[in-house]
């Protein structure tokens, strides 16, 4: 099929065949999905602007009057990330396939390292200090998990054991042939979740668990639906158990759940953030206070540029603004799924689903926390919350989606 890419390649016909081969191994051709790219760019710009609006008062107060303290840093990563996104979008999926296992190994390494070598922030073991910056292994772990699951679920898509064929191998062998992959996925997911939980990172645990479980649900079709329903039931039971007995969680998480259950219990303590967030969201009303006019960011809402940036968005842009932003996120997820489902390569499909699911889950949980319909779990809002590495990784993931979109048999007409 004479694709556009092929036509374009005429320019390189004079090149050495080996180099040509290499190019085709590394780079992807074909245009990426423009609507997705547009949504990402709009969200990124909105996120930067709103993060600046939310952060400058805090920056002035806590960083020697430098209003641009946070936005400067975030911009650097945004630019780097955007470049990374464009670069990654050019990568051939085969290259990503080759990266899956090494990345997973690095991720596990970092997850172990962080337990022993981490920054000393409030008893959290989440960040590895590196050259003045910090790396958050759980962020890398999520990508690694998605990458690996997509890779493995493509490779071991077919059952290793055909139950209609006569087979006289032993039970164990048959069992592993049938369930080996499933158990492997679960094992890897479990190990990762436990490691992240050990970081004292409940929100990361929840997100990772959710993405992993959903990917297994979608990609690992050997398990019948009723199994998942059983698992889902167990999960709901676990959530209810935790909700009613928060003591079994790490202390800071338990506090937040208790505060969520009874907001009046300690309005100035662990519930302060939620209370102030609600005041900000509520103050927004239909049309908001106007861009830049949030008052809650004036040191009422602690660290308004982090997990609660959306509260300031709600206050300044009102319900309509917030609704539009939610719609943008839904559009991002939707478009991501469309890209995924139009991709012939199972690897690409699962990769994209994993990535947009991650964004969708984080967004939904974050907004739930900001509007106090979910307990305060400390999940940042993609594109909006301050955090350099997170943004860099996020944009890299967007690059992956775009790379897949090039081979997706598109929605492009």
């Amino acid at each position: 099929m004479p694709t556009q890419a092929a036509t374009r390649n005429h320019a390189h016909l004079k090149e050495q065949p080996e180099r040509q081969l290499l190019r085709h191994k590394v780079l992807a051709y074909g245009g990426f999905d423009f609507p997705f790219m547009l949504i990402v760019t709009v969200l990124l710009c909105l996120g930067l602007v709103m993060m600046f609006s939310a952060s400058y008062v805090y920056a002035i107060r806590h960083h020697n009057g430098d209003a641009y303290y946070f936005i400067k840093r975030q911009l650097i990563f945004a630019v780097l990330g955007f470049a990374a996104m464009l670069l990654i979008s050019k990568l051939n999926l085969n290259l990503l396939r080759k990266l899956a296992i090494p990345v997973l190994m690095v991720a596990f390494l970092l997850l172990v390292v962080v337990l022993f070598y981490h920054t000393d922030i409030r008893g959290f073991r989440r960040w590895i200090p590196l050259f003045g910056w910090t790396i958050q292994p759980s962020e890398i772990a999520k990508v690694a998990l998605i990458l690996f699951f997509a890779f493995a679920m493509e490779k071991y898509q077919r059952p290793l054991y055909n139950r209609h064929a006569k087979d006289n191998r032993g039970f164990l062998r048959r069992f592993f042939a049938q369930w080996g992959c499933t158990l492997l996925y679960m094992g890897i997911l479990l190990a990762m979740v436990v490691l992240i939980f050990l970081e004292n990172h409940v929100s990361g645990t929840i997100i990772t668990l959710a993405i992993g479980a959903l990917l297994i649900f979608i990609g690992e079709q050997r398990i019948p639906l009723w199994c998942y329903l059983l698992i889902a039931g167990v999960a709901v039971g676990a959530v209810l158990l935790v909700f009613h007995n928060p003591d079994i969680l790490p202390e800071h998480a338990a506090k937040r759940i208790m505060a969520f259950k009874d907001p009046a219990s300690d309005p100035s303590g662990s519930n302060w953030q939620s209370t102030q967030s609600l005041l900000a969201v509520g103050s927004g009303g239909w049309f908001g206070q106007g861009f830049g006019n949030s008052i809650q960011k004036h040191l009422y809402l602690p660290e308004p540029m982090n997990d609660f940036v959306f509260a300031i968005v709600c206050e300044e842009l009102g319900f309509l603004g917030a609704f539009c932003i939610v719609l943008l996120f839904i559009a991002l997820v939707w478009r991501g799924f469309m890209i995924a489902l139009h991709t012939k390569e199972r690897f690409g499909t699962l990769l994209v689903i994993g990535i947009v699911l991650q964004i969708g889950l984080q967004t939904a949980l974050n907004i739930g926390v900001v509007t106090a319909v979910l307990p305060n779990t400390g999940i940042p809002l993609p594109f909006f919350s301050y955090g350099g590495t997170a943004l860099l990784i996020l944009l890299a993931e967007m690059g992956i989606v775009l790379a897949v979109s090039r081979v997706s048999r598109e929605i492009k007409k």
Binding site: Q296, G360, T371
Partner: protein, 782 residues
């Protein structure tokens, strides 16, 4: 399906779509509906209100209160800028070192503000508030001290360890040269962190106790608490402005875009009918009269007859509205201080405080006594019950319905005309007239002259008579009650009621509504409203009024009111000495007068409450009244028309002796009946006192200066009180001074009442001393 677009396997597709819809509709839908819609749209207002509660600082900016001016725009009450000192208990409570700082506030700031430590502590204890006023209406000088204090360094947190603070090896000293506290580990800041100042206004009464009982005063919040300040509080109070600032959680202001300023609208100003000059005349004489009579109090009102405008209104003793809690009367203060029991003393102090605030001229009541006889006579004349030819023989008592009522003159006034009856203030005559009128007709005029209702003056707490308590009901009024009422006993009225009733006679029978506020001005001085004189009703005809005026003039020139006489002033009046029957003890001596009798302009009532010693209105109320009336007539440019005899007594103008020789001058002056004194030994007259054209009394002294005379020589003023007119003349001449006669100097048995320059003062020779004479003859009406 004809066209299959999707490429993924069916099972994956189904599961992916399940997840997609679960995320989109489940999670996002949950967020949107339970979260955003609920919080922002359903409960948005509640949250916004809650947020604002924490975010906004709403400071009220006091509007400046309107001024009060006298009729000539002299300010009587003004508001000026002051300060309000407050503490922020909320931020104060977060300071680690707050205990020590609170002690410092008590020790240092409290004395500056003049408040107690308890007040500081209690205000600082409201830790949920950001704004508690320590003291309002702080004057500007004090504000400077407060600001200096605010800028002083204080220790917010004491951190153990650290070296003493030094600068270049020298210990650090503060502005007062004291060693600075703390060491270099401690956290320092200034008191301005939690002590703030806001603008405020304070009420000033530049003329001090001037018309205090009329004006009233304002309290701590600039709210009128008494008098005009209270009655016109709404008018005077402006609309306070507001500064709404958003503050951040660390409680400093945000930038200007979060600030809304609503400018205060200043209050309106009042222009009174009170004339500063007349009020001063009244106050000066009234205070002296109260002291002279050893009275509990004295009340005086001066009214414009034609309009009902109050020109002056005073009570003695009074108080200073700028310091209204202090007992102004020295005698009362001494009496209170002498009380041993602290609780009793405090109670007495409170009573005295309330009493001094009261405006007795409208609030207090007494039985009008003989002054009311003018009303009885006017009513009888109007009804035609009597005419000017009426005569009656007073035997010293009269029997009505079996009850004998005696006249103040027990031996009887004998046969008198109507005018004489009034001049003598004869009780049986008045009772007789009253009986002739009967209850119904009497009560008609009693009501018409306004004794059954308040006058409607624009002042607070005006006395309103209650039937059965203060006045008789018409149905319950028998002949005995009628008898006592016809000479002004057995019912009560306030001074303003009595004055306005008598003024109706002076005003051709028209009863006016008295008022004190002439105009209301807005903040730019534009007139918002102007009071128009209100005629309440025509009470008696103009003819009747004129007849009564003439009779009242006779009362002053020859009757019991002769001490109210002003030479050339044609004063008409009526004395009164009433027993306080309801109180059971004491008297009220009063004198109600107006002038000039043929075309009355001003009316005045002087009432002296519970005098000790002399108790008759003619004795103690008329003399100050004459004193005031003369001043008022001169001030109001009402021409004094002297009789020939008066002209003679008053003398003429001093002849010009300049350029004459001493001998010639002496001869000329002696020939004209003047006495002469020469100072110096020259031949020629260089200078004379009184100077040519200046007034000089009959037989007065002319001082002639020649060369070599010492013009700086002075003489001592002798005591001229309580002596006769000839004695006074002689004493003055001996001292080398002239006297100028005022008061009733043509009557018999005169004594000097008051002299214009106090005994012992040094004045140049020949200076005229005004001597006010009063008569002691035929002025008793009790």
């Amino acid at each position: 399906m004809a066209k299959r677009k999707l490429t993924s396997s069916d099972r994956l597709l189904v599961r992916a779509m399940i997840v997609l819809f679960a995320v989109v509709f489940g999670l996002f839908g949950y967020d949107l509906v339970r979260g955003l819609v609920n919080v922002q749209l359903v409960h948005g207002r509640e949250y916004a209100a809650k947020a604002e509660n924490g975010q906004l600082r709403d400071t009220e900016v006091a509007a400046s209160r309107g001024s009060i001016y006298d009729t000539n725009m002299t300010p009587i009450a003004q508001s000026t800028t002051a300060g309000k000192v407050y503490i922020n208990p909320n931020s104060f409570s977060k300071i680690p070192n707050k205990e020590a700082l609170l002690q410092e506030l008590c020790d240092q700031l409290a004395p500056i503000l003049g408040i107690t430590s308890e007040k500081v502590r209690s205000q600082a204890s409201h830790t949920e508030n950001n704004y508690m006023v320590l003291k309002g209406q702080v004057e500007l000088e004090t504000m400077q001290l407060v600001n200096a204090f605010r800028n002083r360094e204080c220790i917010l947190e004491v951190v153990p360890g650290g070296k003493p603070r030094t600068k270049g090896g020298q210990p650090l000293l503060d502005a007062d040269g004291n060693l600075r506290k703390g060491d270099d580990n401690d956290k320092f800041s200034t008191y301005a962190n939690f002590i703030g100042v806001d603008p405020d206004v304070k009420r000033y009464y530049p003329l001090k106790s001037f018309a205090a009982n009329l004006l009233g005063f304002t309290g701590a919040e600039d709210v009128g608490l008494a008098g005009l300040e209270k009655y016109y509080n709404k008018e005077l109070t402006g609309t306070p402005g507001r500064i709404v600032t958003a503050k951040n959680a660390a409680d400093s202001n945000l930038n200007i875009q979060y600030e809304s300023i609503y400018d205060p609208i200043p209050g309106n100003s009042l222009v009174l009918t009170i004339d500063e000059v007349i009020q001063r005349y009244l106050e000066r004489s009234l205070q002296q009269a109260q002291i002279d009579a050893n009275a509990k109090a004295a009340y005086g009102i001066i009214m414009d007859v034609k309009t009902g405008a109050i020109l002056a209104m005073s009570c003695a003793p009074s108080y200073d509205p700028g310091n209204y809690e202090a007992i102004a009367d020295e005698a009362t203060k001494a009496k209170i201080a002498a009380i041993a029991d602290p609780a009793e003393r405090e109670a007495a102090r409170k009573n005295a405080m309330m009493a001094q605030w009261r405006n007795g001229t409208i609030e207090l009541t007494y039985e009008p006594g003989s002054v009311f006889k003018t009303i009885t006579v006017a009513a009888a004349l109007e009804e035609g019950v009597v005419d000017m030819s009426e005569r009656y023989t007073c035997t010293g008592s009269i029997t009505i319905a079996g009850r004998t009522i005696s006249c103040h003159n027990r031996s009887g006034h004998g046969n008198q005309s109507l005018t004489q009856g009034l001049m003598n203030s004869c009780n049986p005559f008045m009772i007789n007239i009253g009986q002739k009128m009967g209850v119904e007709r009497f009560y008609k005029y009693f009501t018409a002259f306004g004794f059954t209702e308040p006058t409607g003056i624009d002042l607070l707490n005006e006395f309103s008579p209650t039937t059965g308590i203060n006045i008789h009901a018409q149905s319950r009024m028998g002949l005995v009650e009628l008898a006592s009422c016809s000479f002004g006993q057995s019912f009560e009225a306030s001074p303003i009621q009595i004055l306005s009733a008598v003024s109706a006679i002076a005003n051709g029978g028209k009863l006016m509504q008295p008022y004190v506020v002439a105009k209301v001005l807005d903040e730019a001085g534009r007139v918002i409203s102007e009071t128009q004189p209100t005629v309440r009703r025509q009470v008696v005809s103009g003819e009747t009024a004129k007849l009564v005026c003439g009779m009242m003039e006779q009362v002053v020139s020859n009757g019991t009111g002769k001490n109210g006489y002003v030479a050339g002033g044609r004063v008409a009046g009526k004395t009164g000495t009433s027993q306080k029957l309801s109180a059971g003890k004491g008297y009220v001596a009063s004198f109600c007068s107006f002038a000039p009798a043929d075309a009355p302009e001003v009316a005045m009532l002087i009432a002296i409450d519970e005098p000790v010693g002399l108790i008759n209105g003619g004795q103690i109320a008329a003399p100050p009244s004459a004193e005031i009336m003369e001043n008022v007539l001169v001030y109001k440019n009402i021409e004094l028309r002297y009789t020939e005899k008066e002209q003679e007594e008053l003398g003429g103008s001093a002849p010009d002796m300049s350029d004459l020789t001493i001998a010639a001058a002496k001869q000329s002056l002696t020939g004209q009946g003047y006495s002469v004194r020469v100072i110096g030994d020259g031949e020629q007259v260089l200078h004379q006192i009184p100077e040519p054209g200046q007034s000089i009394s009959k037989g007065g002294l002319v001082i002639l200066y020649t060369e070599g005379s010492d013009t700086s020589k002075t003489v001592t003023v002798p005591d001229l009180t309580k002596i006769s007119i000839s004695e006074a003349n002689k004493t003055a001449a001996n001292a080398g001074l002239n006297i100028k006669l005022t008061g009733n100097f043509q009557s018999s048995s005169l004594v000097t009442y008051r002299q214009s320059i106090a005994p012992g003062e040094k004045v140049p020779p020949g200076t005229a001393i005004t001597v006010h004479f009063v008569s002691n003859n035929g002025i008793i009406d009790r």
